[in-house]
C-alpha cells in the first residue's frame, strides 16, 4: 500500500473513510483502522468468514461479496455480516437414514420456503440456493448435495430468508447424508488408507522428517502442483 495510490471514499457501517482504490474491502477496512478478530479467515475467498453486504451509488440492489475477494468501489456503503445466528441441529451422522424424513426432522422449517429467490440472489458463491432447498423439499438428497457443493457457509442466504430457513445447514446435512450413505465409496481412498496403515510410506516420511530446511524448501518449490 503506497502513498501514491488514488484514494476513494467508502462508507463502513455508515462512517466515511478515504481508502486506497484497487484494494479489497478487507484491506480497506484494515487501512481504516479495523482489526479483525472475527470476520476474517483464509483471506483467499474460501472460508466464508467475511461475508459483506454493500450498496453502490444510484443502485437500489443489495450487493454481496467476500471482503477478502471484493474490490472497493467509490461511494460504496458496506457492512460485514461475518456471522448470522443459525438454527443448527445436532446429529449423529452414522445413525441417520439418508431420507427426506431426516431432512425434515432436523429442519422442518425448510418447507416454509416462499420461493422468493433472495437466497440465490445474495449467494457470493453464485449457488442456486433456492433450487437446492427445492430439491431438499422433494427429498432429492443427491441434487441438494451437488447444487450446494461449493457452499462456504457464510450465512448470507439465511440473513435474507423471509421464511427463516438456514439454507446452508440444510445443504451440509444433505451433503453429509449423501456422502456417508449414498455416494459410492471411493476405492482409491480405501486403497490409500490401507497402504498407509501397511507402512508403505513410512520410509519416505522418515526421510522427510530428517531433512534440513534448505532441502525441504528446494523440494517444496519443485513439487508438482495440480
Amino acid at each position: 500500500m503506497t502513498g501514491e495510490s488514488t484514494m476513494v471514499s467508502i462508507y463502513i457501517m455508515g462512517k466515511q473513510y478515504e481508502v486506497p482504490d484497487g484494494v479489497t474491502i478487507m484491506k480497506a477496512m484494515e487501512f481504516a483502522g479495523y482489526r479483525f478478530i472475527r470476520g476474517c479467515g483464509c483471506r483467499g475467498g474460501f472460508c466464508g468468514a467475511c461475508g459483506t453486504v454493500y450498496r453502490t451509488p444510484g443502485n437500489f440492489r443489495l450487493k454481496v461479496g467476500l471482503a477478502c475477494a471484493t474490490m472497493v468501489e467509490a461511494g460504496m456503503h458496506l457492512a460485514q455480516i461475518p456471522f448470522y445466528p443459525a438454527n443448527r441441529a445436532a446429529y449423529d451422522l452414522q445413525a441417520l437414514a439418508p431420507t427426506l424424513g431426516t431432512l425434515r426432522q432436523h429442519y422442518p422449517e425448510m418447507t416454509r420456503c416462499l420461493g422468493c429467490n433472495q437466497c440465490t440472489r445474495i449467494c457470493p458463491q453464485g449457488l442456486p440456493v433456492m433450487d437446492y432447498i427445492a430439491a431438499a423439499q422433494c427429498g432429492d438428497l443427491e441434487k441438494t448435495a451437488h447444487q450446494s457443493f461449493d457452499c462456504i457457509m457464510c450465512g448470507l442466504c439465511a440473513s435474507r430468508c423471509p421464511a427463516e430457513i438456514v439454507q446452508y445447514n440444510v445443504g451440509i446435512l444433505a451433503r453429509r447424508l449423501f456422502g456417508r450413505h449414498i455416494a459410492p465409496p471411493a476405492r482409491h481412498l480405501a486403497q490409500r488408507v490401507q497402504d498407509i496403515e501397511a507402512g508403505k510410506f513410512d520410509d519416505e516420511l522418515e526421510r522427510l522428517m530428517r531433512m534440513g530446511r534448505e532441502e525441504l524448501q528446494k523440494r517444496y518449490y519443485a513439487r508438482d502442483i495440480e
Partner: protein, 284 residues
C-alpha cells in the same frame, strides 16, 4: 406428443406412485410428459389475503418458465399444485396488478396465457373418453369406484373451471370410460381435513370416517383421488380407526390397471388396504 409437466415436490418420494402411474398411463395413450428443467415448490396454497403477492411468486415463476417451453400448456397432477398454479395463472391473466407486480419482481414477462391442465382434462379433451373406452376393452368390468375429488379440484368454480363446484363429473366419466361403474358418493367434493392433519388430527379422523362411510354406502370397491394428501389422510386414518378396507388409489393407477400396465410400474404396493382383490376383479 410431449407436454411440459410440473410433477411437484410430493411426487418425487412421497407420492411417487402418482408420478409413475400418470407418466406410464399417459405414455401408453401417446401423451409423453416432459418434466420442467428446474422448479421449486408451487407454494401449495393460493393466498386469499389481498396483496399477498409473495405467496404467488413461486407459482408465477413456475408458470413463466413453463411458458418458455413454447407448448402453451402445463400439465400437473397433484391437486394442490393444480389448484394453486391454475389460480395464480388466472390472477396473472386477469389482474393487471398481479401481472405487473409478479413480473416486476421476477423480472419476467409472463402474460398468463398458459393453459394449466389436469391429466383428467387431457384424457377428456386430447384422448377422448370414447377413444379411451375403445382402447381398454372390458376394462374394469363394472368395478364400483367412488370418485373422490376432495376440495382442491373444483373450487372456486370460476377459476378452476372443473365443472360444478360440488358436483363435478369428469372423474365419473373417466371411470365409465374405463369400464367401471361410478358409485353414488355424496362426499365426493368434501374436504378430508387437509393440512389440519398437523394441527387438528381429530378433525381429520372424523372427516375420514364419514368419507369412508359414504363410499361404503355407495357400494364402492375402490376410492380414487388425485391428491396425495387426501390419499395420505384416508389411508392413515383408515388403518388407525379400522373404518374400512376400501383401497384408496390414484386415478392414474386405476387407469394403469385398465390399460393392463404391469403392476410394478404403477406403485401399487398398497400400504393399508390391499388392492389385490380389485386387480383380480378387474383382470378376471
Amino acid at each position: 406428443m410431449s407436454i411440459p409437466y410440473f410433477p411437484g415436490c410430493t411426487l418425487h418420494v412421497k407420492a411417487k406412485a402418482l408420478d409413475d402411474s400418470t407418466r406410464a398411463a399417459l405414455a401408453v395413450l401417446g401423451l409423453e410428459l416432459s418434466g420442467l428443467p428446474e422448479w421449486t415448490c408451487c407454494g401449495t396454497v393460493f393466498p386469499l389475503a389481498r396483496n399477498n403477492y409473495i405467496g404467488m411468486v413461486a407459482s408465477a415463476r413456475i408458470l413463466a418458465n413453463a411458458a418458455k417451453q413454447g407448448d402453451g400448456r402445463l400439465v400437473t397432477v397433484c391437486s394442490f399444485c393444480y389448484h394453486v398454479l391454475k389460480r395464480v395463472n388466472h390472477a396473472v391473466r386477469n389482474s393487471d396488478e398481479a401481472r405487473t407486480k409478479l413480473n416486476d419482481y421476477l423480472e419476467e414477462d409472463y402474460d398468463g396465457q398458459l393453459r394449466v391442465l389436469h391429466p383428467l382434462e387431457l384424457l377428456r379433451d386430447e384422448v377422448g373418453f370414447g377413444a379411451l373406452r375403445n382402447r381398454v376393452g372390458a376394462g374394469l368390468k363394472g368395478t364400483r369406484v367412488a370418485c373422490y375429488y376432495g376440495c382442491m379440484l373444483s373450487r372456486p368454480a370460476a377459476e378452476m373451471d372443473f365443472g360444478d363446484p360440488e358436483d363435478p363429473a369428469v372423474m365419473e366419466k373417466f371411470v365409465a370410460a374405463l369400464g367401471g361403474e361410478p358409485a353414488d358418493f355424496s362426499w365426493k367434493t368434501k374436504c378430508c381435513g387437509s393440512y389440519q392433519v398437523l394441527n387438528e388430527q381429530g378433525l381429520v379422523a372424523g372427516r375420514v370416517k364419514d368419507i369412508f362411510q359414504a363410499a361404503a354406502a355407495g357400494g364402492a370397491q375402490v376410492i380414487i383421488t388425485s391428491c396425495p394428501l387426501c390419499q395420505y389422510n384416508l389411508e392413515a386414518h383408515s388403518e388407525a380407526d379400522n373404518h374400512s378396507r376400501i383401497p384408496v388409489l390414484y386415478f392414474a393407477q386405476l387407469l394403469g390397471i385398465a390399460l393392463e400396465i404391469p403392476i410394478n410400474k404403477l406403485g401399487l404396493a398398497g400400504r393399508y388396504a390391499d388392492p389385490e382383490a380389485l386387480l383380480q376383479g378387474a383382470r378376471r
